[in-house]
Amino acid sequence: MAASATSLADDLAPPSRRFSLLTAIRRNPTIAFGGILLLLLVFMAVFAPLIATHDPLRITPVNRLRPPSERWWFGTDQFGRDVFSRTVYGARVSLIVGLSVAAFSSLLGLALGLACGYFRRVDAVVMRVMDGLMAIPSILLAIALITLTRPGLGIVIVAIVIPEVPRIVRVVRAVVLSIRAQPYIESAIAGGTRNLKLLLRHVLPNTLAPLIVQSTYVCASAMLIEAGLSFLGAGVPPEVPSWGNIIAQGRTFFQIAPWTILIPGAFLAVTVLAVNLLGDGLRDRLDPRLARRL
């Protein structure tokens, strides 16, 4: 009897407050793995000028199509440009596009989602538009927008944000609707609480977790779309070293110089993987109900 009393007291005591990084990593391996990988890539992108061995834009025809060696770690392409340096700089484009698309679409999606969840008339109109947008495959939508404007990084970002917004709107709207249905909100409204206060205190905090998770997936998706667009020649201008561009330019001589495609491709795959893992890990952590499902 005494033994069980002690254990009960132990259970009720507050947990230790010291935060141990190692324990955090052990408990959340996916977040840790994805996060670390991503940090390495960000590091590579930010310090590209220091890491790159050559000038990524410099054309030296005499050194064309060299296989990887001590001098050119990843070999050279058909213009004699160092693939390693171009790959390192390519990280910049992918990360900038991925992160800005995630940020902008999240903000826009949050605003629209909240409006939809709250105001029925807005909901009816906006959701129809979102359904319509979702009917158009994202690459095509982006392509259509790009066809009509001058090429540039900004345009690419906008063109990718538009097809990604509906996904976020849906998630935010779902959260808002489910919270509004809760009895305590009904009583708060009946008690005269102002809409804005309700929004900020009750609704908004609950949207943050799913929003963050979705935006990591949007980031991964944006990186893939940007690379796809650049690959098709409809993305960032060809002089700018984007992984998609590098791969596109490697097409003609792929059979004799596969490194020009396979290496930037591997980097792209790893980056997207890292972001996806981060998203999965965050989802498991922030929304355990969903974790049990997926």
Binding site: M1, A3, S4, S7
Partner: protein, 328 residues
């Protein structure tokens, strides 16, 4: 004559994050042909786990039968391979569960769910299976049975769903029917109907029933013999009249006293008696229990009770009890 079902010193354990839970800690009982046995006890005492253990339905990742013997019709079940167990389930030993709402598959018709049992175990063609399903629906008194065969569970009421479960369970004429809290989730009036139905069917088919419940009222109405369980152990066993007339184990006594009674005169006199509860909490099952499981909450407990587990003593007339103080 050997009993139909013999459970001897059954130990079933679960592996949890907090340690090994001894859900069934040495339970033994017999079930004779055609008998209705009640297993009664509060939530968490191990009665459902005992039932699942008999049919070996404990998921392997979570728990296992650590030791003990379960003999059905002379055959030992604990070492039997899975294929042989599957032939037994639904055919010789059937089980029905507490929640009729969720225990039936929502995307399959009632007829399919009954017929597939018959086809599987009796090897008959599908048409014959459906005919049998129709018969069974009639047996459990479901009106308009032809139409009901092609309906889905969500189109039926709770009471009807439980009838379907019973029909399904009895479709292959099993020798044992294990009913795990079959009426707990139903309205009181429906409860009475279902219990009457079960008894009536038992008369007709001669199936032995193991009725698991926490409701002493149900036990009094339907069973012939009762096993009382506490903290994974059996504490008392008796024919039902004997148990109610002369409960021996302090836990059983406490249970009886805890039943609210309608005492109209006391009410009028303004002297409504207090509900007697059993003080204390159920012991944590992750630690081995030394001595009597009930000792911590027992008004009669002595030092011996806390150190030595009492054996089962025959108190006459098929009434056995495990208590140092009551039956030395």
């Amino acid at each position: 004559m050997t009993a139909l079902l013999e459970v001897r010193d059954l130990h079933t354990q679960f592996n949890t994050l907090d340690g090994v839970v001894r859900a069934v800690d040495g339970v033994s009982f017999d079930l004779s042909r055609g008998e209705t046995l009640g297993i009664v006890g509060e939530s968490g005492c191990g009665k459902s786990v005992t039932a699942l253990s008999i049919l070996r339905l404990i998921p392997a990742e979570t728990g296992r039968i650590a030791s003990g013997s379960i003999r059905f019709d002379g055959r030992e079940l604990t070492g039997l391979d899975e294929e042989a167990m599957k032939r037994l389930r639904g055919h010789h030993i059937s089980m029905i569960f507490q929640e009729p709402m969720t225990s039936l598959n929502p995307v399959l018709t009632v007829g399919t769910q009954i017929a597939e049992n018959v086809v599987r175990h009796l090897g008959v063609p599908w048409k014959a299976g459906r005919e049998r399903a129709y018969e069974m629906l009639g047996l459990v008194r479901i009106a308009d049975a032809r139409r009901r065969l092609d309906e889905y569970p969500h189109q039926l009421s709770g009471g009807m769903r439980q009838r379907v479960m019973i029909a399904m369970a009895l479709s292959c004429d099993p020798q044992v029917l294990i009913a795990d809290e079959p009426t707990t989730a139903l309205d009181v009036t429906i409860q009475a109907q279902i219990l009457d139905l079960m008894l009536e069917l038992k008369e007709k088919t001669g199936t032995a029933i193991v009725l698991i419940t926490h409701d002493l009222g149900v036990v009094a109405e339907t069973t012939e013999r009762v096993v009382v369980m506490y903290a994974g152990r059996k504490v008392e066993e008796a024919p039902v009249e004997a148990l109610f007339e002369r409960p021996l184990h302090p836990y059983t006594v406490g249970l009886m006293r805890a039943i609210p009674r309608l005492d109209v005169e006391a009410d009028i006199a303004g002297k409504r008696p207090r509900l007697q509860e059993i003080p204390g909490l159920v012991p944590i099952l992750t630690r081995p229990i030394i001595g009597c499981a009930f000792a911590a909450r027992c008004p009669l407990a002595t030092g011996r009770c806390r150190t030595e587990a009492p054996p089962f003593v025959d108190a006459g007339g098929g009434h056995t009890v495990a208590c140092w103080e009551v039956a030395p």
